[in-house]
Assembly symmetry: C2
Homo-oligomer: 199 residues x 2
């Protein structure tokens, strides 16, 4: 499959970029509410307040829009960690801050779970890339900390997959399904496992 | 919603129990291959080698069968840990053994991921119960270890959700998507986080 064929067409103007952003935000709300199959391009353009012709300037189909939205959400999650990682603190503190920020994001954008989970069936390549990308960024952070001497034991991709799994499930439970504990509290208590394990 | 209305009808004979098991196993293969929407009762009864009438003796619809299958898979996962927990070892060792066993199970039954993930959309109550059940069992193990004095720090439901997330994602990555590392190796390396954290 040619991945580039499904990428959104790059807007040439600032106004075009804003329109594309408006469509992606409307798509997140529509797919999050109704799921992929019940969502329609007409309804998305109505939510976005843009003409149907404008839609096809940027996206070639509902499938292409859905894939573009998953890529966009992956990018939003990636961006969350950037200012935290730039501060280059201790690796355990870095993971604490990244998780806190992610839990806040999951509360604000709880539709991301339904969309990413549905991507397993509707856009499996984008779904896979979402998690492989997340795990590889965590692994890169751990390796950098190891190189700086801040982690003495081995670091392995397996640790990164364990951490992404923790984060995803904590966001699901405490950001989406129930919101009975604050992001700060959830992250602080979960981070004890990275500080000292269970003992 | 009346959950009992969708439970499979309890077979009254040993032969009936075997038929119901055969249908559930055929359903796991069918739903795992084709997904819920493309699967059919006729095709499942053909896979199982049972008459269509037999199917309706035990399940009232495709939806009811799917829910019953999710409950059955939750129960299979629950059973995996029972002999390990019965040995009442150190909590970190217990989690190591449970994860190893789960990773072996995920390799042998990789259809479970597609089915549980699709349950979010097709049988959301059973999906939710699957994870809440798993997390509550981990939390119960941690509390029991704390009561025995084997964990000195606090134990919290948040730790349990972190651990179930680790386990689910390690099973996805190393049991289903790629099988480049053995269950023993994955579990041993991931378990370092519970032994001593990242430091």
């Amino acid at each position: 499959m040619d991945a580039a064929a499904n990428l959104p067409r790059e807007p040439r103007t600032e106004r075009g970029r804003r329109t594309q952003r408006t469509i992606l935000d409307a798509a997140a709300a529509e797919f999050g509410d109704k799921g992929f199959h019940e969502s329609s391009i007409v309804s998305i353009t109505q939510r976005a307040g843009v003409a149907l012709g404008s839609f096809y300037t940027y996206f070639e189909s509902k499938e292409a829009l859905f894939k573009a939205l998953v890529l966009d959400m992956s990018e939003q999650v990636r961006q969350l960690a950037l200012p935290i990682v730039a501060e280059a603190r201790d690796p355990v503190e870095t993971e604490l801050s990244v998780l806190t920020r992610f839990l806040e994001f999951a509360r604000e954008h709880s539709e991301i779970y339904r969309i990413i989970d549905e991507a397993e069936f509707v856009a499996p390549e984008a779904w896979r890339a979402h998690y492989y990308g997340g795990a590889s960024r965590i692994f890169a952070r751990l390796k950098a900390a190891k190189d700086r001497g801040e982690i003495t034991g081995e670091v392995d991709e397996i640790h990164a997959w364990a951490i992404i799994g923790m984060n995803v499930f904590l966001g699901l439970r405490y950001g989406v399904l129930e919101r009975d504990r604050s992001p700060e509290e959830v992250a602080a208590i979960a981070n004890q496992l990275l500080q000292r394990g269970l003992r």
